[in-house]
Amino acid sequence: MNPEIIRVVGYVVAVIAFVALNAAMLVWMERKVAGHIQRRIGPKEVGPFGILQSFADGIKLMTKQLIVPEGADVLLFKVAPMLVMIPAIMCFVTIPFSEQLAARNINVGLLLIFAIASVNVFALLLGGWASNNKYAVISAARAVSQNVAYEIPMLITAITVVMFTGTMNLQEIVLGQAGGFWNWNIFPVGKNIGMVVVMPISFLIFFICSMAETNRAPFDLGEAESELVAGFHTEYAGMGFGLFFLGEYANVFIGCSLSVILFLGGWQGPFGLLPGVHWFLLKVYFLIFVVMWMRWTFPRTTFYGLLNLSWKILIPISLFNLVLTGAFIKVF
């Protein structure tokens, strides 16, 4: 048999296993962080420190019936949860976990991730619309307008990084940050003194946008429980809901790993020591912790506040950043 096919199948299986396991552990971590922030313990019954809780929940979800509500579009209703998972898994193709550990080294990797990740919101829209439920439709509309608003500053800040590094290849972006933390794109003292002003702001905007793109609190207007029951997955039972959940955590991982690759040096060590997958995972899980920390600190914003933040603050500042980047690259 063609060894290339075996390689592809191996990667697909490994990525799906990683996504599922990662989501299970992140759910546990989220509940632990939430618990301790509220000075509770969180899950503790299933396994040591409750670590097997999400597996127990997963088994429960898988044994449940997928009920299709009356008047729903049966085909779209069943396709939508899969459409959430597929782009999330496809995004993992280009993410370089370490110098050797990457499924494909594509020279437009960054573009590919943005192109595929945008399909995610389409799946939310389909799921909400196919449910034949007014709350699901309202939630889907919110999720779409939110994603449109936050895609723009996110892409503009990504352009500043691409202008600075001169490549869209994620592997090369990481290789360009070798040496030590002074070469990382968030604070590139070693490379371009002018960019020290621009890059921290770019990182902040990118991080906020990636949180909004994944519909995480405080930007979880799409699943505002107090207003919209559960948002676009109101009508989903069992693993249909489970897949939406898995997709959300996979997207959180992708968002954080993109922030790490673009700004925090990817798999490079802080002093140029022992580069490898451990640094990458350490940084990504730290950012994921920050995402959870923010979720359990801040209340949900209003919808106007959410759109105002994007259109009135993030987009003008990111455009200004873009102009500054061009100037600094020319001057220094």
Binding site: I37, Q38, R39, R40, W293, T297, I313
Partner: protein, 147 residues
């Protein structure tokens, strides 16, 4: 224009302050009680269902079967009965039933009891499958406690 930047900086400042508060809480010890493993101690003024008080030395009831508690109870959940026994002054308690399904824990019975023969218990694990489980024979409970 100045207001615009002030708003951004004030917003960021308040968000960072909030995150500082939650980070502090994250590392503080938990305050919740792990109920089935750790049983709470009930406060002194906790009102469980009523219970007969035993004498400190003999363990016998202090009840003189005056029937004041039965009269005072607005819900009629107490049934007291006694009989004359040869050689004993006053009446001897033969029956003290509490129908806890009707009791609202108002405590008028405890207030009305002159010899101080009844008090609130500290019972709070009150799950049962049948209604009859909540008709307590307090005399029997006192004797069981004595043993």
């Amino acid at each position: 224009m100045g207001g615009y930047f002030k708003e951004i900086f004030d917003g960021v400042h308040s968000l960072v302050t909030g995150m500082g508060v939650t980070l502090k809480y994250l590392f503080q010890p938990v305050v919740t009680e792990q109920y089935p493993y750790v049983a709470p101690t009930m406060p002194d003024r906790f009102r469980g269902h009523i219970e007969l008080v035993g004498d400190e030395e003999t363990g016998a009831t202090k009840c003189i079967v005056c029937g004041m508690c039965q009269k005072a109870c607005p819900s009629g959940c107490i049934t007291v009965a006694g009989e004359k026994v040869e050689g004993v002054k006053g009446k001897v308690l033969t029956k003290y039933d509490l129908d806890f399904t009707k009791c609202s824990l108002c405590g008028i019975c405890v207030e009305s009891c002159k010899p101080g023969a009844i008090t609130f218990s500290k019972e709070y694990n009150l799950a049962g499958l049948r209604k009859e489980a909540y008709i307590y024979d307090l005399k029997k409970r006192l004797e069981e406690r004595k043993r």
